[in-house]
Structure formats: C-alpha cells, structure tokens
C-alpha cells in the first residue's frame, strides 16, 4: 500500500505557514523595534561566544531595552478623521488560532475603513492570562485617546477587562461566546458573535427538531469555551425535557479518544454533541470515523474553522455538523465572497466565523464614525442603539451588548472540506424585532 499523501496530511499547499505576517505587521517593524530586537539577539549571540565582560554586556542590554522602549509611537500626520482602535487579542497560547482570526478580521476592517477615516490599529498579544489582557488594555488606554477596542474572545480575559473598560469608558468589540460577559451589567461590551445562549439554541434545536434525536452523548472541553457551552447545552436540552445519556469533560491534552468514545457509545446515544477546541475536535471526529461509531455528530464552533476541517479527510467529515455565526468559506452572498477573497489575499489563509464577526464589529464601529461618532462615548451610544447590516447577519444590541442573534448550522456532506449551511436560526432572542 503506497502512501496516498493527501492534502489532508499537509495542510494547504503552498507556503509553510498559511498566515504569513500581513503587510501591516511588517510595516509595524519598519519603526525600528524589529531592528532593536535583532540587535538584542545578536548581542546575546556575540556575548555567548565572547563569554566575558558581563557587566558591560548588561549595561548594553539595558541600553538596548531602554532605547527600544523610548521609540516614539509613529507620528500621526494630520488626516481627515483620526481614530484609534487597539487590537488586544490572544495571538499566543492555546487560544491563538481564534485570536489570530480576530486580529485578521479587525485588521481587514481597518483596511476597508470608509473613505475619510484614518485608523490606527496597534495589535497587542494578550496571551491567555487575565492579567496580561488587563495590562494590555491599560497600556492602550494610556497611549492617547482610544475610540474602541477589538478585545480578546477569551471569556476570562473579557471578565477581567470589563471593569477597566468601564473606568476608561471604552467600548470593547469582541466575538467571545462566554455567556457571562454580557450579564455583568456593563454597558461597554459589544459581542458580535452569538453568545453560547444563542448558538446552543440552534445546536440543540437542530439535533432535536431537524435530526429528531433524543439520546444525547455530550463531550466537552474543560476550558472556559467547553464548560460554558456545556452549561447552555444542558439548559437547552432541559427545555425540551431532555438530559444527556452520557457526558464527560476532556482536558486539552487528552489525545486518545478511544476510552471516551467507547464509553459514550456504550451509553446507547443517537447523537454525539461535542464542544471541543479545534485539535481535539478533529481527533475525536477522526477516531469516531475509524471506529465506525455510526452516530451523527453536532459539533461546537471550533468545527467550522477551516484549519479543523483541514486535519480531516472529507470521508471522515461525513455526517458532521457544526454551529457558528456564519461560514464564510461556504459563501452565500457577494459581500461574503469578496471578504473571503480579500482575506485569503491578505493573510494567505481561510477565514472563519470569528474573523467575520470581528470584521463586522469593527466595520460597525467605523460605520458609526462615518455617521458622525467621534469619541468612544459616541461609539458606545451608536453601538447600543444602531442596527447594522453586516456580512454575517444583522446586528443590534439587545440592551446588554449582545449584537448577534442568529446562528447557522452547517454540515459536511462527505465530498469536500467546505461545509454547506443547512439551517439558519435568525433572531433567536427576538432582539432584532423590537
């Protein structure tokens, strides 16, 4: 048997890294920081070789750090309308896949800003610790007036940033699904992704109403993403008078899914609901296919991300469905197709719903500015009252900062890695109709 070395095992063809640093970022290195760091690395290298005169070296090191710290922010030439939208997202750590989508979506919106608006969008990594997110927000707030913030989709980080945002009166534009962030009575949060309380309605309704399943096996990740999703799934199932016949939580490090799949199967379910991150989702689906477990799978939003589908063969994906706000790669409208094309061109990778949601969010902010908003407070007011037709859906605040009220279910038919949208659940909360 020779190796059918398929696309599946290599990721997309072309470059090593789908996301080569976009031009904006390379531009950011033009200001000398890149060279400062290169100099630092070089100095260290030279020192390790020379291995002497440590004090002189430390002084040099501190000098380089100081020099690079005092590098002035890029001078702003007098443009038409200046706005500052810092992008504070997790581009390292376990949520970096989603965080990079957020960054790309935000940067693409900045690039497509309406004529006459000049946007400064400095990207800062928040990692996964709440501390780092708060630091980043404080740092951004201290660097000149901020109009709005593209903020981390990690629920914990949002919860930590919210009080600070309130102090500084800065609207946070996020795609975090964590239900709690809009329940804190904080008027500065705007979520452009359906919350877990919205997506899980679609998720459960699809499984129960469309597929007609009643015996649910639920497998979730023991992270904020998985635990929040699980709570909402249980709640929605409860509304239909159902409870899972099996549930188990997995740590992100778990690689062998055989035990959990065997146990789930032994409980005799008729549908598998999973709420795992990208890698574990792919692992579970692949091992389920290998075991010929023969159950339909309804997965969380991680499944709709193209990198997840890329890890699997089309055959393995047959019968797998996923929830999301949208599936840009599935097309649907000329606007979305333009977005996908531009995104690929700009970042060399496929966009997901998080990128689209973040794009829509920042576009709505820019739209508000084009319509006359100037300060952060203007933007907050506009966002909490305006209705905006985005690429993914119509957005309107429900009064607590939930902007997105629609979700879609997409399924893979076994012929390709691009899912087809099979069901739209619009205006689930009813917020769009008032």
């Amino acid at each position: 048997m020779t190796a059918p070395v398929s696309r599946q095992h290599l990721g997309r063809p072309g470059c090593l890294r789908q996301a080569m640093p976009p031009r904006h970022i390379i531009g950011a290195f033009g200001d000398g920081r890149f060279w400062a760091i290169s100099a630092l690395v070089l100095t260290v290298g030279v020192w390790i070789i020379a291995m002497k005169n440590t004090l002189a070296f430390v002084i040099a090191l501190l000098g380089v750090i100081a020099a690079f710290r005092t590098l002035p922010a890029q001078a702003q030439s007098a443009g038409p309308i200046e706005v500052n939208i810092p992008v504070l997202v997790p581009i390292t750590g376990y949520l970096s896949l989603e965080g990079q989508s957020q960054r790309n979506g935000a940067l693409l919106a900045v690039k497509n800003a309406p004529a006459g608006i000049r946007v400064r969008a400095e990207v800062t990594d928040t990692g996964v610790a709440p501390e780092a997110a708060v630091n980043a927000l404080e740092r951004a707030a201290g660097r000149g007036p901020v109009t709005a913030v593209a903020a981390s989709m990690l629920g914990t980080q949002m919860l930590a940033m919210l009080p600070v945002a309130k102090d500084y009166k800065l609207p946070l534009i996020t795609v975090s699904g964590t239900a709690e962030i809009t329940q804190m009575n904080n008027p500065y949060v705007f979520r452009f992704f359906p919350g877990d309380d919205v997506t899980k309605v679609a998720h459960v309704r699809y499984a129960v109403e469309e597929l007609g399943k009643r015996r649910v096996a639920l497998i979730y990740q023991t992270t904020a993403y998985g635990q929040s999703g699980r709570r909402q799934i249980l709640e929605q199932l409860g509304k239909s008078g159902l409870a899972p016949v099996f549930e188990d939580g997995l740590e992100v490090q778990i690689r062998d899914m055989l035990p959990v799949l065997s146990k789930a199967k032994a409980a005799g379910p008729d549908v598998l609901m999973i709420h795992l991150h990208s890698g574990p989702t792919a692992l579970l689906i692949r091992q389920a296919a290998a075991l010929r477990i023969g159950l339909p799978i309804v997965a969380g939003s991680a499944m709709h991300q193209p990198p997840t589908a890329d890890l699997l063969g089309p055959g393995e994906l047959r019968g797998v469905c996923a929830e999301a706000n949208a599936s840009p790669v599935s097309g649907g409208s000329p606007g979305i197709e333009r977005f996908v094309q531009q995104y690929r061109q700009e970042f060399g990778m496929e966009p997901d719903g998080f990128a689209l949601g973040q794009y829509d969010g920042i576009m709505m902010v820019l739209d508000a500015i084009a319509k006359g908003a100037r300060t952060a407070e203007d933007v907050r007011r506009a966002l909490s009252t305006m209705r905006y037709e985005g690429l993914a859906m119509s957005y309107r605040s429900d009064g607590t900062g939930n902007m997105a009220h629609s979700a879609v279910i997409m399924c893979f038919d076994g012929s390709s890695r691009t899912p087809r949208i099979v069901k739209r659940y619009d205006n689930i909360t009813g917020a769009l109709s008032n």
């Binding site: 020779t2 059918p4 070395v5 290599l10 090593l16 390292t92 023991t222 188990d248 035990p259 990778m349």
Partner: protein, 303 residues
Amino acid sequence: MLTLQLLLNGLALGAAYALCALGFVLILNATGAVNFAQGDMVTAGGFAAVALATVWPVPGVVLLPAVIVLTAVLGLVLSAVAYFPLKSRPPVAVFISTIALGIIFQNTANVVFGPEPRAAPPLLGGGTLRLGEIVIGSQSLAIVAVAAALIVAQYLLFARTQLGRHMRATAQDRDMAEALGVRVNAMIALTFALATALAGAAGLLLANVFFVTPTDGMNYILKAYIAATIGGWGRIAGAVLGAMLIALFEVIFPALPLLVPLPAGAAWVFSQTVATIVLYLALLAILFWRPQGLLGESARRRA
C-alpha cells in the same frame, strides 16, 4: 476486543512517550540536569515533518531520517546555548535555561507554523486494519515498531560501540572519563543530539495521529519527567517502563467501566480528569513508598 484495542493504543502512545523519556534520561545521566525543553523537541520533530512534507510529499518513514538529523542538530544547538555556558553551575540553572529555550522555541513555531494544529504524513499509509470487531490503526502499529527499533538502536549504540561506551563512561563519571581520554564535552553534546533526535522521532510519529501544535511540549515533558521518576531516576529501562505504564494508565483507566463490572453511579470516578488526578496521586504514592522508583535509581547523586 475493546481491551485489545485499548492496549494497542496505550502501547503506541507509550512508545512515543518512551522515546521522549529516554532522551530525558540520557541527558539527565550525562549532565545531572533536567532538560525541560525535551517536550518541545517532540513538537520540533512534528513540525520538522510537517515542513518537510510540504516541500517533499513522501511517506513519513522516508522523512524519518531527515527529521532525526534536523532534531539532532537542534539538540547540538540546545546544548551549546542552554547547557555548556552553565555546566559548572547548579543543575537548576539548566532547568531554567531550558525552560527559556522552550519559550523561544514554542513562540518561534507559533510564528512560523501558526497556532492551528497540523498533521504530519503517516509513516506508511493511513487507514485502519480490521480484524473482525477490532479496528487497528496501522499508524499505531507503525509507531510501536519504529519506537522499538529506535530504542533497540540506542541500546546497541550504548552496549556495542566504542562511541556508546564513551558516552556511558561520561554519564557514569565525568572526571574519570576525562582522565581516560574520553572527549567529555563532545560526548555530552552528542548525548544532547541523540536525546533530541529520539524526541524528534517521537514527534514525527505522534504528529500524524495526534497532530502537532506549538504548545504541546508541556504535556510531553511532564510525562517524561514522571516516567523517569517512577521508573527509577537515571534508569534507561525504567524510563521506558514508566512511559508505558503512564500511557496504558491514561488509556485504560477512563475505560474501566467498560472492562469490569462496576456499581452504577461509580462511572464519574473514571472521567478523564479523575484519571489525571489519580495519575498524580499514584505518582505521589510511589514517591512516598518507593522513592527510588520501580527499578531503583542509578543516577549518581551529586553532593
């Protein structure tokens, strides 16, 4: 039937853990220091395979030698940057320098390869073998075979060759080896290369079935550390045994309700989280009752 499948999965996982733990112990013996970047070397092997496969789409078994060479070179770099400048300092300095190197490595991988999980090509072909009820991933069998071959090769290298004897002499008593004319520093550098190459091979093996992401290293180093400890600090065979035990435990414990009759309501005890907690508690128990490890320790103590 399920038992057999679980055993095979456990063996495959254990084989990969064993390669990582083996390298961990080799470096430990040669330098007395814990190489905390060992787990990241597994990731490095995975990414090396992913990168090579992009430009050269061949089965993994063809890539294996190239991955071994690449990660061996990485091991030399590791020793040059994180060990040799610190070799006269307490082992904890190396512990931290390798943590620093791990941070550098993880974030470089994040920049170059991106955060999304990636898959390396399978060793031979993908797919599964079916024997009646049992489904056997051919990759799992291949992992066990390749890992066994590498472990035997390592054993033969140490037992049968002059080079291996010099490496062993260095690990046993550096001063004595030096007095006998062994080029000690070269042997230590080679040990690093060998250790990271073993980890790199594990990375290639695992990156097909379990994918590879930049932050995976932490999991592997913890497993290697535990394996080395329960097997007996400094014991090569102990590390392999320890790795197998950990992997089998990880796979079998959560499946126990299916294998043995248990009272209803006890199922929650066998969740994956409890499995991890029990693993650590078992580790503490072993440390408490048998601190010298299962096979007894052999690493010389440094006063």
